[in-house]
Amino acid sequence: MSATQPPDPTVPDAVAAGDNVSPETIAAPRVRWQRRIKAEHVRDYGIVVFAIGLFIYFSVASSVFLTKNNLLNLVFQNATIGVAATAVTLTIIAGNFDLSLGSIFVLAEVLAAWAAVHWGVWWAFPVALAAGAAMGAINGVLVTKLRINAFLATLASALTFGGIAVGVTHGGLLITPSSSVFTFLGQNRVAGVQYPVIIFAVVAIVLQLVLAATVFGRHLYGVGGNRDAARLSGIKVDRTVIITFVITGAACGLAGLIDASTTGSGSSDMSGLGGQLALLAIAGVALGGTSIFGGVGSVWRTVLGVLILGMITNGFDLLAVPDYWQDVVRGILIVSAVGISSVVDRR
């Protein structure tokens, strides 16, 4: 994305009409003040254009990319991240943060597996969701009632949840009974589409609707945008914030369930997805354009952010680009996306 380059003050004022000027060049703040209105468009919708561009690029560059199987796989591989990321979008819009996504995911997965082993496979489902929601509620109470900064509160709870998970599994794996009741979620398909893909889509659509079209969703924007004003407008701020943490917790529990069902086991190993989930999810949120400071953003942006990050992994794999480049590119991408919006806002 050429907008990642610093604005060039030497560009002459008169950008001649008809010149082959990309939208990004126009967005550069010092080029021509008159064109700044378009800078806002780049900030708000640049990510959509970029996602389409990336999609087209990979479709052309790789013969495999644009196949039904590959695209389904791409979404399937990012479904757990996506479920967690779309939910934590609500928490972030309401002005908070959650670093415990991965630990909730791992502990919920482990507890689900434990319940499947000891109580019967059907128990895995309610246990995973309830455990996730309960852990989210703990985070919410720490942040609101005890007024602990969300960063610290969720960092501390992440350590605790992760530790408990290791305790439950004694550091190993809990292999669940090989029952199709348990594994259908992670391993089966409906009309050729994997269940996790469908779950991700449903979660994203529901949360997008909640955020954009309900009273509760509007309250989240208010609480994140101006907490004092929200309180003076009669909003029960603490309760609202706790609910966002519970939703995020339950979503991470669901993600843990998907993972347990896919692998047929419960693992407390934080070196896998569990250790990275919080950062990958929040990276997706930020890349999509939701403000880390709260008050601004949406779920569809997060879906886009997660899919862009997924596309880069998938596309680079197909093009046999070395692994380390993926992280380099993803890092640069996040910084540029957030940087553009901050430059545009600051003018």
Binding site: V215, G222, L232, S233, G234, I235
Partner: protein, 504 residues
């Protein structure tokens, strides 16, 4: 402008747009050195924007800015500061966690080999304070100060960095009359010492008293620049609005026997409120006068559930209500317009419609909490129109409105709830003459329809102009009560604690 006088600041054909609306269009102004140059205009006329361009806070879209005949393009207030131009903003922004001294010397700390010389800083602070005749404890954290004192910090900050040009954006909008006089004395001293003051204000009497030169703006265009001596309030108003604005006069009903809507008894909060009691009848406007720090705003916040209370009861329409949160107060039929629209009022990133309906979203939602967007847009549009918000575009972001229009949006949020008791804390702060008159008329109309109004303002004239009864607060209690149209001197004396025995 004579050719001999060197203009330190020259603005040539300045233009600025916000989301397509022209805030400034082809404005050229010369500010002569060592003068007080006032910028006046209605809200949205572009006077604040012009001031901010001089101070480097915003960059113009078109035109050129010359300082000492040198073309400059500031991209931050810091760059302007190195040229000796300091800005004192309308919305004050000191660092609340730091002390007054630290704020005053922020970025210009006296230092030796990278270490801040604290003692030297304290000495210089004492010099500054005595030089400019301020009383302000340097060791207090700025966050604990009232708005008026925060402003003093900003002014001290400007003189501490030896600014040659000081841009003041509505500096007196949150000051009491006495504090305003102190500020004016300071401004004259600054001018005598050769400094230039760009004074953005909507208080025309102040402008005429203080300024050497006045620039009048209307809808982003320059009307004229001329010597202040040649202007009167009438000519300025005519210039600002194109027509003469009518003076406001409100009839005040006598001896109302309407039922008491709000009854507060023995409201107490340690160190802030001392057993305050008051009654407001339906249709009555009760004004609350007093100095900054007298407990006016604190009383309003306590009644509205925004701050906790130690004891006391609040009854609405004869029923005692347990008010522990703003939500409780709202459920009791109260609405509270807070002092600072930026900190406690508006959601700057949200639309006008969202800001209007936020306190009563149920009214525009279906049973299951799903918003009905079209209904929301229509309802807010008609309310915004009736308050003459310009433009009454529900989908516009509230941050893109001028101060006066933002205030009207905040009003809209509370009127949207049809409150029975309306508590207004500084309802016209930072609002121009026309918007102010409109808000005054609105308050009067609401009372005429039976709303009980508690009105707080640091401008005693505003309280006297509207209130059917005036209560004077001092040190956390109500010390005097007056009927309609009391003499200004008597109210002032009561506020300062002079003369008259307290009646409670």
């Amino acid at each position: 402008m004579s050719a001999t006088a060197v203009a330190p600041i020259r603005l040539v054909s300045i233009g600025k747009r916000y989301s397509g609306t022209k805030a400034l269009d082809d404005v050229s102004v010369e500010v002569a050195g060592g003068t007080v140059h006032a910028l006046v205009g209605a809200n949205g006329a572009g006077k604040s924007t012009l001031g901010k361009i001089v101070g480097g806070v915003i960059r113009p879209d078109d035109g050129e800015l010359f300082v000492d005949d040198r073309l400059v393009r500031y991209s931050s207030p810091r760059e302007a500061r190195t040229d000796g131009i300091a800005t004192i903003a309308q919305e004050l922004a000191p660092v609340p966690q730091m002390t007054v001294i630290e704020n005053v010397f922020l970025g210009i700390e006296p230092r030796r080999s990278g270490l801040v010389q604290r003692r030297q800083m304290r000495t210089r602070y004492q010099e500054l304070v005595s030089q400019w005749g301020f009383e302000l404890d340097g060791q207090v954290k700025v966050g604990a100060l009232r708005t008026a004192d925060k402003q003093k910090v900003e002014i001290l900050r400007a003189v501490a960095c030896e600014a040659r040009v000081i841009v003041m954006d509505e500096p007196t909008s949150s000051l009491t009359s006495v504090e305003t006089k102190t500020l004016h004395r300071m401004i004259r001293t600054l001018r005598e010492s050769g400094r230039t003051i760009v004074y953005v204000s909507h208080f025309l009497d102040e402008v005429l008293e203080l300024a050497d030169t006045v620039t009048v703006l209307r809808s982003g265009r320059l009307v004229r620049t001329g010597p202040a001596a040649a202007e009167t309030e009438q000519t300025l108003v005519a210039g600002m609005f194109g027509v003469a604005a009518e003076a406001e006069h409100f009839e005040k009903p006598q001896g109302s026997t309407a039922p008491v809507l709000l009854e507060v008894s023995g409201l107490h909060r340690k160190g802030v409120l001392a057993d305050v009691s008051l009654q407001i009848r339906a249709g009555e406007i009760v004004g609350l006068a007093g100095l900054v720090g007298s407990g006016r705003s604190e009383l309003a916040r306590a009644i509205a559930g925004a701050d906790p209370i130690d004891r006391g009861t609040i009854a609405v329409d004869g029923t005692t209500r347990h008010i522990r949160s703003p939500a409780d107060a709202m459920a009791a039929g109260m609405a509270f317009l807070p002092e600072s629209r930026k900190d406690d009022g508006l959601f700057m990133e949200l639309s006008l419609a969202s800001n209007t309906t936020f306190a009563d979203l149920r009214a525009v939602a279906s049973r299951f909490g799903v918003l009905r967007r079209a209904v929301e847009r229509e309802k807010s549009r008609s309310l915004l129109k009736s308050l003459s918000v310009e433009p009454p575009n529900p989908s516009m972001r509230v941050a893109n409105l001028s101060g006066g229009n933002q205030q009207k949006v905040l009003f809209a949020r509370w009127l949207f709830r049809n409150p029975r008791v309306l508590i207004l804390d500084e309802p016209t702060r930072g609002v121009d003459v026309a918007a102010r008159a409109a808000i005054h008329r609105l308050i009067n109309d609401l009372a005429a329809q039976g709303t009980a109004v508690l009105l707080i303002s640091s401008e005693i004239e505003e309280v006297l102009g509207l209130a059917h009864r005036v209560l004077v607060m001092r040190l956390g209690s109500i010390t005097r009560e007056f009927g309609a149209d009391p003499p200004l001197d008597a109210v002032m004396e009561a506020a300062f604690g002079l003369g008259g025995s307290p009646t409670t």
